[in-house]
C-alpha cells in the first residue's frame, strides 16, 4: 500500500508538474474561465456533471437519476456566485429506457455487468439564458476517431481514491482509445455503446463526481462520463464513456415529443 502511495506521489509530482496553487480533475488543470459554457453541475444526493444541448435540455448519465435535481449553469466556482451563474430546477427526467439502474447502484461488482445506455435527459423547468457563460453544444454527427485528443471536465475528485473536491471546474486532456483497451481492463461489459478514453500509463482520468460530464474529441461532443476503475487514473484502466452518436435519434425524439 505504501508503495502505491509512493508511486502515485512520484507520478503526480514528477510527470505532470502543475503550476503552484492549481489542482486537477485527476491529472488535469483548472479550466480557463467560461471555456466550457455547456458544462453544468447537477446536485441531488449525488454530485454529477451534465451538458447543455438545448436551452431547455441537459444530457447526463442515467445513474445520476434522483427524484429532484439542481442544475447549476455558467459556473466556474461551484460554491460562489459568479456573473454568469444560473440556477434551474428540472420538471421532468428521461433516463434511457434500456438502462438497468440496479447494477450501478449496487456496490458489489459482478463479472459481466452491463452498464450500457447510461444516459438521461433532463428537461429544465425554465430555459437557460444563453450568454457568454452559458451556451449549448451540438450533438455529434460523425464517428469519433481512435487516437483523437479529447477534453473531459467536471468538479469531480482531483485525487484517485481519497476524494478531494475542487472549487473550480477542472479540465483534462486524454486520448480516445480502442474499446479493446477497456475490454481487456474490465470484467464488466464494454460494449459498442461505450467509448474508452484515458492514458495507458494512468495519471489522467475523470473520477468520482464527474459522471454525466462531457467528453469532447477534436471539438465534438462524443461521450458522457459514465464509469471506470476505483481508484481512478490507474495504469491500464482507462475511463468508460457513453458513446453519444449511438443515441442521437433517441435524444432528438425525446426532445421533440416533450417540448
Amino acid at each position: 500500500m505504501w508503495f502505491l502511495i509512493l508511486f502515485l506521489a512520484l507520478s503526480l509530482g514528477g510527470i505532470d508538474a502543475a503550476p503552484p496553487g492549481q489542482s486537477r480533475i485527476v491529472g488535469g488543470y483548472k479550466c480557463e474561465k467560461n471555456s466550457q459554457p455547456w458544462q453544468v453541475a447537477i446536485i441531488n444526493e449525488y454530485l454529477c456533471g451534465g451538458v447543455l444541448i438545448d436551452p431547455s435540455w441537459v444530457i447526463t448519465a442515467a445513474h445520476c437519476y434522483s427524484n429532484y435535481y439542481h442544475v447549476l449553469l455558467g459556473r466556474n466556482n461551484l460554491f460562489e456566485d459568479e456573473p454568469f451563474a444560473q440556477y434551474r430546477f428540472v420538471n421532468q427526467s428521461f433516463p434511457h429506457p434500456d438502462y438497468k439502474p440496479f447494477l450501478m447502484r449496487n456496490h458489489t461488482r459482478q463479472r459481466g455487468d452491463d452498464y450500457s445506455n447510461d444516459l438521461m435527459l433532463l428537461h429544465l423547468s425554465e430555459p437557460a439564458d444563453i450568454t457568454d457563460g452559458v451556451k449549448v453544444i451540438d450533438l455529434p454527427t460523425e464517428e469519433p476517431k481512435v487516437g483523437s485528443t479529447c477534453l473531459a471536465s467536471g468538479w469531480g475528485s482531483t485525487k484517485p481514491l481519497n476524494w478531494e473536491l475542487p472549487d473550480d471546474l477542472q479540465c483534462v486532456n486524454i486520448h480516445l482509445l480502442s474499446n479493446e483497451k477497456c475490454i481487456e481492463a474490465y470484467e464488466q461489459k464494454v460494449t459498442d455503446l461505450m467509448l474508452c478514453a484515458g492514458e495507458m500509463d494512468g495519471r489522467k482520468d475523470t473520477c468520482k463526481g464527474d459522471s454525466g460530464g462531457p467528453l469532447i474529441c477534436d471539438g465534438v461532443l462524443q461521450g458522457i462520463t459514465s464509469w471506470g476503475n476505483v481508484p481512478c487514473a490507474e495504469p491500464y484502466n482507462p475511463g468508460v464513456y457513453t458513446k453519444l452518436i449511438k443515441f442521437t435519434s433517441w435524444i432528438k425524439e425525446v426532445m421533440k415529443e416533450n417540448p
Binding site: I43, N44, E45, Y46, L47, C48, A61, H63, C64, S66, N67, Y68, H70, F79, E80, F89, M104, R105, N106, H107, T108, R109, Y115, G156, S157, N162, W163, E164, L165, Q188, T206, C207, K208, G209, D210, S211, G212, T225, S226, W227, G228, N229, V230, C232, G239
Partner: protein, 504 residues
C-alpha cells in the same frame, strides 16, 4: 228560638265540614303560615290579629250567599259560625300531616337528601389512585411499542411548541425523552383532570401500564439525563409517592430550605454534580413563593461512531440571506444513509453515533426552500414516514460536509406547556397522589440541553466497497437545518432541534 236554630246549625256545620275537607290541602299549607303569624301577633297585638282572621273568613263566607234564606241565617249566626269554622280549620291542620298521604312525599324527600351526602364525599377517593407501580410481563412487552409511538408524537408537538416560543431564526435543542421522563414522574402523583391532561399531551393511553419501567429501560448510556422535583418545606409529600418514586426513578422530591439564595445554590449544585459539570447555572433566580420546582437537564455523552477528518475546515453557510464561514465536519467517504423527502422538500441524512444512537439531519433541498417551510410541513405522520424510510436506507460512503454540532439551550418549560395547551401547572393543579395540600402550583419548570459533537469518533473510518459509477454521493449542509438524535433500538427521538447559526 234556640231550639229552632239547632237543626239548621247542625246542617250548616256539616256543609262547612265538607268544604273544609275539600280545601284541607290548601288550608293545611296556608294554615302553617297563619299559625306562625298568629302566634307572633298574639304576643304583640292579639286583638288586631283577631280582627284580621274574621276578614279572611268573610272572604270564604262570600261563597254562601247563594240563597236569601241562608243570607238571613248567616247574618244572625255569623260570629258563631266563624269561630267554629276557625277552630275546625286549626284541628285538621294539626291532624292531616300525620294521617294524610302528603306525609309520605315529605318522607321520601328526606332519603335523597341523606343519599346526596355520600356522593359528595365519595368522588375524591377513586380519582386519586395509589401511584401505579405494578407491571406485568405481558404489559411490559406491549408498552415498549406504545411508548416509542408516544414519544415520537410528543416530539413533534414539542418541536412546534419550542419553535413558537423561540425567536425566529434562532438555534434550539431539547430532549423529548428527557422532558417526557420528568412529566411522567409528575404523572405518578397526578389525579383527576391533571392526570388526564398530562396523559393527553404525552400521547399516553389512559392508565398507561408499565410506563415508568419502560422509560427506565429506554435510557441510553449515550445520554445523561437528570430530573428532579423540589418542594417548599411546608408542603408535605405523601409517603406512598416517595416510595414509588424511589423505586421507579431512584430519587424522590427534595425539600427546599427557607432561604431563597441557599435554595438557588442547592439546586444549581445538584444540577452541576449530576451533569458532570456540563451544566453549572441552571437557575438564576427563584420566585419568593416557591412551592414546586420541576427541573430537567440533559447532555449528550455519545460520540460519532466514525471519526471525521481532524483538520480544521471552514466553509460557507447561508445565514439570514448572507454567506458566513463556519467550522465544518468533513469526510470523504463517511458512511451515511441518504435520501430525498419530497413532502418536506428536504435532503435527509443519517450518521451513526455510539450507543445505538444516530444523528439525523433534514436540510432543505435548495437555497430557495427555507427551514421554516420545512417546519410547517412537519407533522407526526410525515415524521414517522421519514424515520421508517431511514431504517430501510443503507449506509454508503459519502462525501460529507456539515457544520460542527454545538447547541446549548435553556428553556422555561411553563411557557412551553401552555403552548401545548396544558395549563394545570398554574391553575387547578391536582397532584393528590403527591401531596394532600390542595393549594398547589408549579413555580418553575426548566429544561436545559447541551449537545456537542466534534470530529472525534469511536472508530477510524474503515475502507468500504465503492461503486464504479463516476457519480459521487454527496451531503453538504450549507443552510439552516433540522436535526434529531434517534435511538435506533427503541425507536424514539432522544434530542431534537434546529440550527440557524452554527457559530452560536
Amino acid at each position: 228560638m234556640a231550639s229552632k236554630l239547632t237543626p239548621l246549625t247542625l246542617l250548616l256545620l256539616l256543609l262547612a265540614g265538607d268544604r273544609a275537607f275539600s280545601d284541607s290541602e290548601v288550608t293545611s299549607h296556608s294554615s302553617q303560615d297563619p299559625l306562625v303569624v298568629q302566634e307572633g301577633s298574639r304576643d304583640s297585638v292579639p286583638e288586631r290579629d283577631g280582627s284580621r282572621s274574621p276578614i279572611e273568613h268573610t272572604g270564604q263566607s262570600s261563597t254562601w250567599p247563594t240563597t236569601s234564606g241562608s243570607t238571613k241565617i248567616s247574618n244572625d249566626t255569623m260570629d258563631q259560625v266563624a269561630n267554629e269554622s276557625f277552630i275546625q280549620h286549626v284541628q285538621p291542620a294539626a291532624q292531616l300531616p300525620e294521617d294524610s298521604p302528603s306525609q309520605s312525599p315529605v318522607n321520601s324527600s328526606s332519603p335523597p337528601s341523606t343519599a346526596s351526602a355520600p356522593p359528595t364525599q365519595a368522588p375524591t377517593e377513586p380519582l386519586c389512585p395509589e401511584p401505579l407501580a405494578w407491571c406485568s410481563d405481558s404489559d411490559r412487552d406491549s408498552s415498549e411499542a406504545t411508548l416509542s409511538e408516544a414519544l415520537t408524537d410528543f416530539s413533534v408537538k414539542l418541536y412546534h411548541a419550542f419553535s413558537a416560543t423561540k425567536k425566529a431564526e434562532t438555534n434550539m435543542a431539547f430532549s423529548p425523552f428527557s422532558i417526557a421522563s420528568l412529566l411522567t414522574q409528575v404523572l405518578l402523583g397526578a389525579g383527576d383532570s391533571t392526570k388526564s391532561n398530562l396523559e393527553d399531551i404525552l400521547s399516553y393511553p389512559k392508565d398507561f401500564a408499565c410506563v415508568h419501567q419502560t422509560l427506565k429501560a429506554f435510557s441510553s448510556k449515550g445520554v445523561t439525563s437528570v430530573s428532579q422535583i423540589f418542594h417548599s418545606p411546608d408542603l408535605a409529600i405523601r409517603d406512598t409517592y416517595v416510595n414509588a418514586s424511589l423505586s421507579l426513578y431512584g430519587s424522590s422530591p427534595r425539600v427546599l430550605g427557607p432561604d431563597g439564595d441557599a435554595n438557588l445554590k442547592l439546586i444549581n449544585t445538584w444540577v452541576a454534580e449530576n451533569t458532570n459539570h456540563k451544566i453549572n447555572e441552571l437557575l438564576d433566580s427563584l420566585p419568593s413563593d416557591t412551592r414546586l420546582v420541576l427541573l430537567n437537564a440533559v447532555y449528550l455523552s455519545a460520540k460519532w461512531k466514525k471519526t471525521f477528518e481532524q483538520k480544521k475546515m471552514m466553509a460557507s453557510f447561508l445565514y439570514k440571506n448572507s454567506m458566513i464561514k463556519v467550522p465544518m465536519l468533513s469526510s470523504k467517504k463517511y458512511p451515511l444513509a441518504l435520501f430525498n423527502d419530497q413532502t418536506l422538500k428536504a435532503k435527509v441524512g443519517q450518521l451513526q453515533l455510539s450507543h445505538n444512537l444516530s444523528f439525523v439531519i433534514m436540510v432543505p433541498q435548495s437555497p430557495t426552500h427555507q427551514l421554516e417551510d420545512m417546519e410547517k410541513a412537519l407533522n407526526p405522520t410525515v415524521f414517522k414516514a421519514i424515520l421508517k424510510k431511514l431504517e430501510l436506507s443503507k449506509f454508503q460512503p459519502t462525501y460529507v460536509m456539515m457544520p460542527r454540532i454545538k447547541v446549548k439551550s435553556s428553556q422555561d418549560m411553563l411557557s412551553i406547556m401552555e403552548k401545548l395547551e396544558f395549563f394545570d401547572f398554574t391553575y387547578d393543579l391536582n397532584l393528590c397522589g403527591l401531596t394532600e395540600d390542595p393549594d398547589l402550583q408549579v413555580s418553575s419548570m426548566k429544561h436545559e440541553t447541551v449537545l456537542e459533537l466534534t470530529e472525534t469518533g469511536v472508530e477510524a473510518a474503515a475502507a468500504s466497497t465503492i461503486s464504479v459509477a463516476r457519480n459521487l454521493l454527496i451531503f453538504e449542509v450549507q443552510q439552516p437545518f433540522l436535526f434529531l438524535l434517534w435511538d435506533q433500538r427503541h425507536k424514539f427521538p432522544v434530542f431534537m432541534g434546529r440550527v440557524y447559526d452554527p457559530r452560536a
